[in-house]
């Protein structure tokens, strides 16, 4: 798939995206040539542990990577037929916040502490929708009501510190949805929140994107979060997509040993109080050159070939639907999670 032409039906096509940090002696290869498509209105989960490149690849799509530390080495990011990486800074700025928006992990720090939330909402509308102040304020109230902020009108002049974490994340969602973007990227949107609030925020996001037909990229390290939300999931490891499948298929028949390990490490309600099975070892140091599969040292299915050659991302043998895996010796696809467990995880 990595060499295929961008799908003309897709809203977003990422091809061979490669991002590095640093220069000279110490170059960290954060994203190593990933490719995927996202259909309009689709929700895609990107799963992986810290440092696997999931956030970096999304920031690269938004062109928000820290300069000059990070560099997009190669690849293309095609949104509606337009390669975002070719645009000028000014052209890209017009797209950000309008056609594509992003929600970040920590709602405590992602809002400007010295501006009332009214201003933080209206400035997006004024910039992209050319609304006058009063029109923008009316729209801001609508948006706050949409994301479930009680007495929205009275809270316009409040500052971020007067809101709870969950409420702040609702404000962030309102800001992101302000201009009805076609693509919303949510980077660990619930990680910093209480468990009870997490479910509410996920539900809000699900309703919002379904109603508007917004495509959503949901980045998380928490397999439970994506299960009930995403139609398709990319599993990332050490800057590569190692497995990509529909949610049912991935949870039902994981093929990559890393995905298998991730699913085994989730605590389960339907089993006894046995010990969890962690994945042994540590992710590789991305500032060193890795020969072969980066997961080889931690893999229970490792072959000699794995240490010599990186396996391509290809259709898994005897898999239903589209199920891509980058592995020389994939797991058989035993059912690890009982049917219906996906929705249980999310609720």
């Amino acid at each position: 798939m990595s060499r295929t032409a961008p799908d003309p039906e897709a809203l977003l096509s990422v091809r061979d995206l490669e991002v590095t940090f640093g220069s000279g002696d110490r170059v960290v290869h954060a994203v190593n040539g990933i490719s995927y498509d996202l259909a309009p209105g689709e929700t895609l989960g990107i799963v992986g542990e810290s440092g696997c490149g999931k956030s970096v690849s999304s920031l690269a799509i938004m062109r928000l990577l820290p300069k000059p530390a990070a560099r997009v080495r190669s690849g293309s990011v095609i949104l509606e037929g337009q390669d975002l990486l070719d645009l000028s800074d000014e052209e890209m700025r017009r797209i950000r916040g309008d056609q594509m928006a992003m929600i970040f992990q920590d709602p405590m720090t992602s809002l400007n502490p010295v501006l009332p939330i009214e201003r933080q909402l209206t400035e997006v509308l004024e910039t992209h929708r050319k609304l006058k102040r009063s029109g923008a304020v009316d729209r801001a109230v609508e948006l706050l009501e949409l994301v479930g902020i009680p007495a929205a009108k009275n809270r316009l002049r409040d500052y971020p510190h007067q809101f709870s974490g969950g409420m702040r994340q609702r404000v962030m969602i309102a800001i992101a949805l302000a201009c009805d973007p076609q693509l919303l990227i949510a980077d660990e949107p619930t990680t910093a929140l209480d468990v009870t609030i997490q479910a509410q925020i996920l539900e809000l996001m699900r309703t919002a994107v379904t109603e508007r037909g917004t495509a959503l990229i949901l980045i998380t390290h928490d397999l439970g979060v994506v299960a009930g939300m995403a139609q398709r999931i990319n599993v990332m490891y050490a800057g590569h997509i190692v497995e990509r499948a529909t949610t049912d298929e991935l949870y039902g028949r994981p093929r990559h040993p890393y995905t298998v390990g991730l699913l085994r490490s989730i605590p389960r309600l339907d089993e006894g109080r046995g010990e969890l099975v962690p994945i042994q070892g540590q992710p590789p140091d991305l500032s060193r050159q890795i020969i072969g599969c980066p997961f080889a040292d931690r893999c229970f299915n490792v072959l000699d070939r794995c240490r010599e050659e990186m396996p391509p991302l290809e259709q898994a043998p005897s898999a239903a639907d589209e199920h891509l895996v980058a592995c020389w010796n994939p797991a058989e696809g035993e059912r690890l999670v009982p049917s219906g467990f996906e929705s249980e995880l999310a609720s």
């Binding site: 797209i95 400007n112 501006l115 997006v124 500052y159």
Partner: protein, 335 residues
């Protein structure tokens, strides 16, 4: 907020009490006394004793202190030992000159320091930033008297483009004193030429006095902007697709300036100390020069009350800064 202000004002009492004692002790530690200034060095011992007695200087130190404090508590800051003029009158007459100079210096420091700080912060790690760092370190370390003399030597003597001393050209302009702000008085007198001349006289002393605050403000702005540049909400602002200048002004600067405001306040207070040297070098008839002359003449009463008034102003300026800080920062305003 009101509670906060009242608490701060109450705190002034112990601070000022402590200060009076400190200043009193320090003036008495200076070698010599006012009697020498009044009578000269060849005066007879009897005459010296007579003058000391009339000034109350023959009494034990603690009695002198309590007498001084007694006056203070009744609002009497005393009279000069040498001219017998009321200290408060003298102070008020000279203070506008010092304010004029300090304002010019701090405006210069802010107007140059903040943009330079932002500029170098955004170019962190480049040679521009390194150059700025070196210049600001020189600016912080250079002694005012040296900088003042060098400025005078270069711009008033080698290349005589600016006046070297005083507040206005007294030969060409006669400006009646109304407010004692020379620039304002020149305008009141309807003398645009005098106004320009007063501004020209301000340039060198303001540069000398403003250089340290300029360097400090630049350093703090730079550090603060660099901190804020890494904040999540700046990334959010960019993710919203805001124009760069909106991100800079509304999101970066508003947050980055919070610590800078505190520093500006502190530096404004410290200018009063720097003014003593600057006013002496440029013969500027302000409070600084007045206190300098009083120290030379051992005019204890002026030193004590003059420094006390400067200290009071310093503390009040800081209170105003704290209050304005609360207005800029909603997290403090609401707590």
């Amino acid at each position: 907020m009101t509670k906060f202000i009242i608490r701060r004002l109450l705190l002034l009492i112990p601070i000022l009490l402590g200060l009076t004692l400190l200043i009193f002790v320090f003036t008495r530690l200076l070698p010599g006394d006012p009697a020498t200034t009044i009578l000269g060095e060849r005066a007879t011992a009897e005459n010296m004793a007579l003058v000391r007695e009339s000034l109350g200087l023959d009494r034990p130190l603690h009695e002198q202190y309590f007498q001084y404090m007694g006056g203070l508590l009744q609002g009497d800051l005393g009279r000069s030992f040498i001219t017998n003029r009321d200290v408060v009158d003298d102070f008020l007459q000279r203070f506008p000159a010092t304010i004029e100079l300090s304002l010019a210096a701090i405006i210069f420091a802010i107007a140059a320091g903040i943009p330079l700080g932002v500029y170098t912060a955004k170019r962190r790690g480049t040679w521009v930033d390194a150059g700025g760092t070196i210049l600001s370190l020189i600016g912080i370390s250079i002694p005012i008297f040296f900088l003042g003399l060098m400025l005078k030597w270069i711009f008033a003597i080698q290349f005589p483009i600016l006046p070297d001393s005083g507040r206005i050209d007294l030969v060409n302009y006669f400006i009646p004193r109304v407010t004692n702000f020379m620039t304002v008085d020149a305008l009141i007198a309807g003398e645009p030429g005098g106004f320009i001349d007063a501004l020209r006289h301000l340039v060198l002393p303001a540069l000398a006095l403003g250089t340290i605050p300029l360097a400090v403000i630049m350093r703090i702005t730079r550090a603060s902007v660099i901190d804020v540049l890494n904040e999540d909400y700046v990334r959010t602002a960019h993710a919203k697709g805001l124009r760069d200048r909106t991100v800079d002004g509304r999101h970066i600067l508003r947050n980055a300036l919070l610590p800078v405001v505190t520093v500006i306040g502190l530096q404004t207070g410290l200018l009063l100390g720097g003014a003593i040297l600057t006013e002496t070098i440029f013969t500027w008839g302000g409070v600084g020069r007045w206190i300098y002359d009083a120290v030379t003449a051992r005019d204890y009463q002026i030193i004590q009350s003059g420094v006390l008034m400067l200290a009071l102003i310093f503390v009040l300026v800081n209170l105003i800064v704290d209050i304005s800080y609360a207005f800029l920062n909603p997290r403090i305003r609401h707590s």
